[in-house]
């Protein structure tokens, strides 16, 4: 009932194209933020023990189990115009809700725990002796992290990044509460599908088809990464 031609025709609508472009750009930005900020945090959590670690880990993982609508409210209460930081942000001339930045924040908030969790276990699996050897040979903490820990944990980091990106791409509940919905600005692909379902079903189905393909591709690459990892580090 729904052919490849229909999908192409559906993707011809400006709503569909704007939504997919916005989703791609914002989710990749969110991915960059979670990798840049999340990787050192995951390294620390994966390789060190300190008092209160489980509290810190719980705090980082909370968005993973929170209903997305609650995450959206939380973001409003923190970064909204009337939120905890609203006054400070306004003084800087920054009003976050209803902007592209709000979309990125919502995505980063809900998706980064997936990446950090995966990266943390990847770093925890790195042989301590390797890190110790690097330090004995005179590498500083940063150098050990960049030149030893990251390359060894690369497969796990890649898988975590893929999952985090897919979650960011699918983000809906927190976004619609915190960022609203405006074509080309904050209307991401999932929101366009939700709103367009009745008024423009062809475009909605077309965007959905693209999201299904993207998600399948991500899952497949995670599996291939995992297999590659097993071959490299598994028993010979």
């Amino acid at each position: 009932m729904f052919s490849a031609g229909d999908i192409v025709a559906g993707l011809d609508s400006p709503v569909a194209r704007d939504a997919l472009r916005l989703s791609l750009e914002t989710s990749l930005t969110a991915l960059a933020v979670m990798v840049l900020v999340g990787t050192p945090i995951a390294y620390m959590l994966g390789t060190r023990d300190f008092p209160g670690k489980s509290v810190v880990v719980t705090a980082f993982e909370l968005p993973l189990v929170l209903p997305p609508a609650v995450a959206g409210l939380g973001l409003l209460f923190a970064f909204g115009r009337r939120g905890l930081l609203g006054g400070e942000l306004s003084a800087l001339g920054l009003e976050i809700p209803f902007t592209r930045l709000a979309v990125v924040l919502a995505m980063t908030f809900v998706a980064s725990p997936l990446y950090v969790r995966q990266a943390q276990s990847a770093f925890a699996a790195v042989d301590d002796d390797l890190l110790a050897a690097a330090r004995t040979l005179g590498a500083g903490e940063t150098r050990t992290f960049l030149r030893v820990a990251i390359p060894v944990a690369a497969q796990g980091l890649g898988a975590g990044a893929a999952l985090g990106w897919a979650r960011a791409l699918g983000e809906f509940g927190a976004t619609i509460i915190f960022a609203g919905s405006l074509q080309g600005v904050t209307q991401t692909a999932p929101i366009a599908i939700y709103i367009g379902f009745d008024s423009d079903p062809d475009a909605a189905f077309a965007v959905a088809a693209v999201l299904i393909a993207a998600s399948a591709l991500v899952l497949l690459s995670v599996k291939l990464l995992a297999r590659g990892g097993a071959r490299r580090f598994g028993p010979a």
Binding site: L76, P97, F98, I195, F197, D198, S199
Partner: protein
């Protein structure tokens, strides 16, 4: 040990009771209306307060019946009914989706039971200093409904009647339902929004209400009908009768709705 065993038994009992509850209500759906059951009323988001108030009245007038209310955008409700979700009554904020369902033979005849008008609301402290619709063109952050939902298309009509070009406005979001507009304005995240009079009524003191000029007004007419697949048609008709009764109309009026259009 015995405490733990009791706890486990209790935990197992809860889903069992829930399952039994679902079973009895669905069997009631099929049996004669006199025995009671669950009446599923699907209503536009703007009807939330009025229908929530009417539900206990219906339940006391019809012993054995429970009213389950489902409030969403009219378009989403129509989509749910198309997908075959158990619904008995569908009350929408415009004729568009009921007519669409009737075209698909999924909804019976409809009765227009209420009208609603639009107002402009601003947060209590009115940060953008909006005192009339014309002030909207000064860059205030405006939240409207998506054209796919009735409030969105009514807003387009009002703006056209006012001679305001939407591109001269700073529209920051097109929400999927009217409650989304109401919340974003009452939280102060947006400077203004167009909602129904009934929503402004429900928000009370948390917002300022700016009336629209009568000549610019778009009147929303609310139709209600019985879903073709409903197994509770008699009870559904009694719900419609209640809403059309003077008691039902009084409740709607008290929440800011206009009376059912005559004729």
């Amino acid at each position: 040990m015995r405490g733990a065993a009791t706890a486990v038994t209790l935990l197992l009992a809860v889903p069992a009771m829930l399952a039994a509850g679902c079973g009895s209500s669905s069997s009631a759906n099929g049996s004669s209306a006199a025995q009671g059951g669950t009446l599923n009323v699907f209503a536009a988001s703007s009807l939330t307060e009025a229908f929530t108030e009417l539900a206990p009245t219906f339940e006391s007038q019809n012993p054995g019946w429970k009213v389950r209310l489902n409030f969403l955008g009219s378009d989403e409700l129509a989509a749910q009914i198309e997908q075959g979700i158990d619904a008995d009554v569908y009350a929408a904020a415009s004729a568009k989706y009921p007519e669409q369902l009737q075209g698909e033979k999924m909804l019976g005849d409809t009765t227009d039971f209420a009208t609603n008008t639009l107002v402009l609301i601003t947060p209590k402290d009115n940060p953008a200093g909006i005192h009339s619709v014309q002030d909207l063109t000064k860059g205030a952050k405006l939240v409207v409904g998506d054209p796919a939902v009735p409030i969105g298309s009514y807003t387009e009509t009002v703006l056209a009647n006012l001679g305001i070009d939407p591109s001269s406005l700073n529209i920051v979001s097109k929400e999927d339902k009217v409650k989304g507009i109401a919340t974003k304005v009452s939280l102060g995240e947006a400077d203004a929004g167009f909602v129904y009079t009934s929503d402004a009524n429900a928000l009370g003191d948390s917002v300022n209400v700016i009336e629209l000029p009568a000549t610019a007004q778009a009147t929303a007419v609310y139709p209600m009908g019985i879903v073709t697949a409903s197994g509770n048609k008699e009870a559904a008709q009694r719900w419609i009768d209640l809403v059309m009764s003077s008691q039902g109309q009084d409740v709607l009026t008290s929440h800011g709705f206009g009376p059912a259009p005559s004729g």
